[in-house]
Symmetry: C2
Subunit: 525 residues, 2 copies
Amino acid sequence: MNITGESLIGASCIKGAGADFFAFDPAAGKDLEPAFHTAGKAEIDCACELARIAFDPYRATDPETRARFLESIAHHIIELGDQLIERAMQESGLPRARLEGERGRTVGQLRLFAEVLREGSWQEARIDPALPERQPLPRVDLRLRMIGLGPVAVFGASNFPLAFSVAGGDTAAALAAGCPVVVKAHPAHPGTSELVGRAIQRAVAEAGLPEGVFSLLTGVGNQLGAELVRHPAIQAVGFTGSRQGGLALMAVAAARPQPIPVYAEMSSINPVFLLPHALAEKAEALAAGFVDSLLLGVGQFCTNPGLVLALAGPDLERFSATAAEQLAQRHAGTMLSAGIQRAYEQGVGRLAGNRHARQLSHGIASETGGKGVPALFSAGAEDFLTDPQLSEEVFGPASLLIACKDVAQMHEVAERLEGQLTATLQMSDGDHALARDLLPVLERKVGRILANGFPTGVEVSYSMVHGGPFPATSDSRGTSVGTAAIQRFLRPVSYQNLPQTLLPAAIQDGNPLAIWQRINGQLKK
Amino acid sequence: MNITGESLIGASCIKGAGADFFAFDPAAGKDLEPAFHTAGKAEIDCACELARIAFDPYRATDPETRARFLESIAHHIIELGDQLIERAMQESGLPRARLEGERGRTVGQLRLFAEVLREGSWQEARIDPALPERQPLPRVDLRLRMIGLGPVAVFGASNFPLAFSVAGGDTAAALAAGCPVVVKAHPAHPGTSELVGRAIQRAVAEAGLPEGVFSLLTGVGNQLGAELVRHPAIQAVGFTGSRQGGLALMAVAAARPQPIPVYAEMSSINPVFLLPHALAEKAEALAAGFVDSLLLGVGQFCTNPGLVLALAGPDLERFSATAAEQLAQRHAGTMLSAGIQRAYEQGVGRLAGNRHARQLSHGIASETGGKGVPALFSAGAEDFLTDPQLSEEVFGPASLLIACKDVAQMHEVAERLEGQLTATLQMSDGDHALARDLLPVLERKVGRILANGFPTGVEVSYSMVHGGPFPATSDSRGTSVGTAAIQRFLRPVSYQNLPQTLLPAAIQDGNPLAIWQRINGQLKK
């Protein structure tokens, strides 16, 4: 398939009127052909208007139609074959195995949402039949179901060119919910984005759906994203990226004449608590596991373990020594983009220059430079509590070990953490009492609590929460991974005394969709 | 029980340091004893800090404990007896029967949330068991449940001194969700608020719950509410009131270092569509039903029918003539407060002075003045589409009839409506095709669609949506009436590989709470 650098506006491919730019190969350090053309106001308006027009007919399709559409997108992504993997490797510097795995995850989550659509609980079907004899007043017939919010703007993330990008979790969840999607491609992987966008465009056409169900805007600069979020047709936003980017979109969305929800997944340092018994029993093994998790994907995961907490003492020293030693043997890795590389170097530089932090170790720099060198720092809990710089995310393979003088101080640090995607407890049986004490604090702080693992690795399943309190995300009520992600793009509508023939199938008598219905408060099928 | 004018801060009763004020009897036109004392910064801080401290132990109580607590609140409200009804009558000008009914609704919704707590689906319990043999990677054990957002600030509404006030739907839903509540009493009914607050305070003490589970701040002025929403302990806001008030709280919440969700129910004109066959068949009966709905409670309902749409012609003229005639025979009624009365008169004045609107009829003014005089206006659809003043809510017994030249224009008016709580279709069998055409538009515009009724009358049940797109509410994803209201105050947390003994009961193996659990995506009990 030809990469043309165009935006995909409904069924059309349009050369944007804005600035030209090129994808960049971070491993080779050079631009990639062809030129991409930034979408201008006309393209944005057209994509959003088409989405607006598509919303009613698209959401009126039955769940089976949408399920097959999602499966068809998955099929067309697979059909792109090695061209997709190779282009993504070039644009991201990520290795083949990782991208093949990520492609599997991407098509897997599309198929999982197809399953969700068929199962039907997402519709929250409820029926309270009329009680004409009720005293003092009869009860009306009242039914409820969920409908889509409207067209959704999705911002592709730099660090997952497939799974959190054009056909990623936000897009899959929004399309499942019956919402047309306008994606703003991440400029770090515009070619990958265009290929996947064309796969979706093909699936839309084959399914006979209105063309506005999907558009892809390509471009550089913040203007494009802000104008997209400002467009009156857009009714919700999905974003994965920096805190600065997320906050900017939240501000734009809140300043609209009609404010809209923003689901921005922004920043997290993912504290790992090494509880005393576990640390005593296996400091070295924990250190090895930690370094592997920290360096996975050159540390470029939202759930990267950027903070480790333990009680000061010989066990922590064993952990630190092993982690420092193992990290020192690891090589620098190519980062996703020059911008991420620069930001990482600045972040490490800030920690290196912080008078409260001590550098324990760093990895092996490349001869040519320009790669992400792993880095490990330590600091005392007192300083962590007073110096906000130590809580800042450094996106990449850097982490900070915090020595707490006692359990109370560990508790205090937990209590003072900002909102996070994850918290991890490394524990053995002797640690249960302390874990029990920490859990209520962590529940308030994070979206996912793990025991005896590391936070990298985010399963796409029914029970996943990839979310958490601000500033981990803009809205702790949702998740951007897993089946619950669909709920972010839905809202309830209730129907009072409507004739059966005018009711949506989900809440008709006789339950034609054979889904779970809550009747007088009781779930039935 | 003595009304003292104090704020109820946890288990204490504290005389606020701010301005003194009095409740006002709108029927008698005089102040009521005793003086109330506006809560100052110290009282706000104390209430919020107590709520923060109470959150973990309160949410850790089992659902049965919270269910009994809600039932105990209901019991203590009933126990207030006639003192509550009489004080509410004095402060609101509402008649006894209405307030007795509203008390029934208030205790009924507390008991309904107790039922919801016991049923357990609100916990969204999900379990994805580990798959250690899965290829290429084993699957971890992953479980999800909902927890409360944290302390909730609730703003009592003026028009429902019981059901949307201190122990109203927002409070009941938040307490059910495991969230402590800090209520800001509406200054139009401070005595009613204090009585109900003392009933809750008693229930907290009897249940042995942490005192910070509930506080009541009394006061006048906007400062108190803004400071409450700004307090870092507060994690969500429930509000029913004016658009201006709701927008102000949204701005305060969005400007916090940590933004929080605001559920503000603000304004709605609740369009009623008189479809042609129904209008031809029963114009006079529809007019009578409409006037009854419009004048119910002196028009002071969020779901008051402030807009009627029909095709121009003799049937609409019959409807207009009958409605005008019936309305002309109805007397002015005492409004809830002097402020509401003034705002109503200004709103009617604006319509009377609008060159596109024609006054069809008005009710019988009281001899002394100072009451809400029913008023009926008409305008053409062309003008409605171009003059935004005609879409503004006039809170009270005023409505506007819009004559559309054809079905296409009716469709256009529907498409141009702002977000609403409700839309009503008056229809007979011959109107089904037109109704089917309007339904998708109305679904996008409103929270509840009714057939052949009037929007006043909001059932408290499983399927009710009292909500809708902005500006009807600040967040179309929720409802402030009915059992789904609990979801506004919850967020998901997932647990990975936690030992059984550390898992919350809702997601333990063996299902000790005997609730619905979603296991590998399938609902089971």
